[in-house]
Assembly symmetry: C2
Amino acid sequence: MTQPLSVDMFEELCPSDLIPLRFADKWAALILRCLDGGPRRFSELRVPLSRVTAKVLTSSLRALERDGMVSRTAHQPGTVPHVEYALTPLGRSVLDLYATVGAWAAEHWDELLEAREAYDASQ
Amino acid sequence: MTQPLSVDMFEELCPSDLIPLRFADKWAALILRCLDGGPRRFSELRVPLSRVTAKVLTSSLRALERDGMVSRTAHQPGTVPHVEYALTPLGRSVLDLYATVGAWAAEHWDELLEAREAYDASQ
DNA sequence: CGGTATCCACAAGGATACTG
DNA sequence: CAGTATCCTTGTGGATACCG
């Protein structure tokens, strides 16, 4: 049974529809996971994310903040900066979504790797 | 309640863990959706995906094939090429996952857009 | 029909150094 | 401490032309 195709797929779904989920952001999922246990300071995030430079971490955090997934709070009791990042309800929600994606990956990982090996072997 | 962070997040989860899901591929989701109604020829896919060039469509299809989400079958009855792409069971499974992601997006879309407008207005 | 070959533009990511 | 400023590399995606 073959169903007809839309004339233009872009009328229904743009690629940008997925971009706000930040799946294309290399570090977004990792950052959100780091915030799962509670609010973190910038320097605290840099430890587990040691392979992400400050510049890149900043820009990812800004993007997550813009999308309402992370909140940024600057406390300034004295002269020393103190910034805390925390998950918003939306951020927590997208973390659940990542968990679903992760469960899918765990279940189908072997299947995918086998396909890849088979393909590479045939080329 | 604040929980401790891992020393190195990369021990648990690499960014590459998500890449095989092809979420970073700009057209993968759209291509899989085009195959949902049945097998399609290359030129059939080009119609709804008119904004994707042949080169890009080919490379996306190759990547999907390598990951076992799409099968490529070349029928050659005469001298005229006839290639069909179809969803594999794994591809169908990942389509279900996209549906879950899409449902999340539909539910939280407004929330995300509001956050974005608020952020942009404050900058 | 089903692609390749070539060249190009742009954005993301990264290395390094510096600052309020 | 929490970033910026600069510069550079890479890769994806795209435009155009051509081929078995």
